[in-house]
């Protein structure tokens, strides 16, 4: 049975402090820029909505013309930048805006469930989880 490794959300705990976004963008892009964070926090009626890839829907994988998007052994969806031709079809097809792009970057980026943000979240509103994949 394969598994999915993903960032599990507890939105009711989120205070919207933005620590996760800062952590993500400084970890991967060496800049404090919410536009370069794989995770997004937005106000909602209930408080805050956490938007990040659930690693399950995989529409992006089906859309990629060069098979640059694959699932790792741990069950996370990865973009191989060496293969990617930067068409951004995956960005358009993602139903929750979790495949991201910042012009003029060559290609997209997304959450790989590394857990850096979860470790820094002061409210434990996000955590790394591993569950069985539903085929």
């Amino acid at each position: 049975m394969s598994t999915v490794k993903f960032l599990k959300k507890h939105e009711e705990r989120c205070t919207g402090c933005g620590t996760c976004m800062r952590t993500c963008s400084t970890t991967f892009f060496k800049t404090d820029d919410p536009g370069r964070s794989c995770i997004s926090i937005n106000p909602s009626q209930q408080g805050f909505a956490i938007s990040v890839c659930d690693q399950r829907c995989r529409l992006c994988i089906a859309e990629c013309p060069v098979q640059a998007i694959t699932v790792s052994a741990q069950g996370t969806v990865l973009v191989n930048r060496k293969i990617c031709v930067g068409c951004l079809a995956c960005v358009a097809v993602c139903p929750i805006g979790a495949m991201k792009h910042q012009p003029p970057d060559a290609g997209p980026f997304k959450c790989i469930a590394c857990g850096a943000c979860a470790r820094k979240c002061p409210e434990n509103a996000i955590e790394i989880a591993v569950e069985e994949a539903q085929e």
Binding site: Q67, V85, C87, A89, V93, P103, A106
Partner: protein
Amino acid sequence: MSRETPAAGNGDLVAGHALLAGFRYETRPVVRGYNDRVLCVDVGTLEISEKPVPGEMKAKFTGGKGYGMRLLWDAVKPETKWNDPENEIVIGMGPVCGNTNYPGSGKSLVVSLSPLTGVPIDCNVGGYFGPYLKFSGFDALELRGRAKSDVIVYISGNEGTVQILEAGDESQDSHLLAENMVEIFARDEKDRQHVSSVSAGSGAGNTLIGCLNFSFYDPRRKVARLKQAGRGGIGTVFRDKRIKAVVVRYEGLSSSSNNPADLPVIQKTGLKLHREIIAHDDEQCRMREIGTAHLVEVMNDYDLLPTHNFKFGSHPDAGKIDSHHFSAMVTHGLPDGCWFGCTLACAKAADGFELTTGPYKGSKVTVDGPEYETVAGCGSNIGILDARTVMEINFYCDTYGIDTISFGTLTAFCMECWEKGILNADRTGGLELTWGNSDAVLEMLHRMGRGEGFGLTAGQGVRRMKAIFAREYGADPKLLQDIGCECKGLEYSQYVSKESLAQQGGYSMALKGPQHDEAWLIFMDMVNNHIPTFEAKAEALYYFPMFRTWFGLQGLCKLPWNDIEPADNAGTSEPAKVPEHVQNYVDIFNAVTGRSIDKDELIRQSARVYNFQKVLCLRMGRGRRADDRPPYRMMGPVTVEEYESRAERYDKQLLEQVGFDPSGRTSEEKLEALRKYREDRYEKLLDAVYKRKGWTPAGIPKVETLKDLGIDYPEVVEVVKALGG
């Protein structure tokens, strides 16, 4: 550049092909969408060279088809025939071609003197060849000469080498040959997507309706798929030159391969269109589901689906070949773009399709398509109302290198000739060409593949068949002219134009012959009545051919222009133009090239090339007013049978439009009155359109028009002056 033997190719398989000539060139990046050089390969003399693109050519001809026309003019003389070695096949791309962000950006434009028409034909074709050739270092490829025996031209785009190789014993048929080229020139499985070939199958060499197959390797299906440069017989020219395949290998594609002036604009504009497609395609054209075949039921509903050689516009059993039957046959859920980043993804394919006839009977193959034109031409127009048979015809046409549109239209003509007793089993070698006889149609197609019997006759196309049937069988030339659906020598594509005067003009004034890529005005004209006057029709027949020509200058596909529309398009001032998408095109052109054109300059870019192409047709002795007149079948009912099938419509028109009371008249009398009226209106349309285009009533561009466009070159002016322009 020195002429030297390049390093060995990509393994033993290449080594098995004797090297006849080699050429090394300096690789360098594309600059703002241009290489500013052209690759020339003469397969007869085995000379390979490169030449710079002069600034004047770049400024006036833009790229793609514009470059093709300019280079072809320089290559041929007024007396050049299609099968003279000096006739060229030019494959041009264009500055926007090859970007990976804006859907539909991977097109190649192929230009040559057509075997069917004697004038330039141009085809807009997908597949990876053109963009890979561009990123290998060239804005266009000129193929000329005639080889002594079959050759393969190989361009190794990363190494900067071009080779002419002796062809081996590979099958000529494209579904096998394209696979073979990938096998030979790809270094490993992952490399296969970096190789693309151009080929033409066995039928291309046996007929005048040969097409070219441009390949694109599909890593999921693990097969080299094919897109066609279909119209006008360029595949026939290719085989006459004894070129077996032209292959390019290039790796390293990225969104910045064009080195555009402003990549973020291209990315944002492309992403906007991707999102529009993902959000609205399901409710608009279903291109992602079944491609252009979605049109079958639409055309049938509007009485526009050609049926029995364009006699009728619908068929009671058309539901048997509607898009849902094909949707059930193709594989879904795959990214079916013929170039990277095309989310419109109309290049559908059926996998594991088991063939029931011909040399590959019993094989399970991947069939690309069918597109609407193929379903209509090889379905309803010849009375075949069986989706599976249409698929089989589609497969064999493609692999034999035969244009499905010409095949459909010429087969329909043959069937009507059979119906009228002009053809019989003695004359067809036993083929019973009755409406819907699948076995006979497929056998005729296989005879084209084998180069046998009536397959050779039919493969000459409708215009030559008309002459043969009149000469050999005593058929009435006037009847043949009325029912033979060709203009300028090219077979019509698959829409019934009887009830749209503007579309009759759109078809028959098209420079290359009656293909709908210059103008498709039926809904504007017939359904919505948005262009009721001659002047309004003329304006549409000016604007749309110019606008659509622009796709061919850039290496773009037409489909993402109006086969997907913004949600608010209907509320704009000119919905038929899709204003937001026109602005997208202006934006991406400027973003690639660093220029700052507007939508008016876009039209002027096209108008230069369009008028130049027109003068090239005149230089080749065609393109006069008489060449722009359709056969009457495309204008109205030729026979009593047709008239009576839509009697209520025609009677009403006679009464209300013609001022002819049909009551008590015979069908023959009514036919004649309607015909006189329609033919007269067509002449008035020609007058209005020529005037709008800045041409004389004889259809000759005026010198002042050429001057205004900046293409009043002495050799161009000389042609029109001699004709009163």
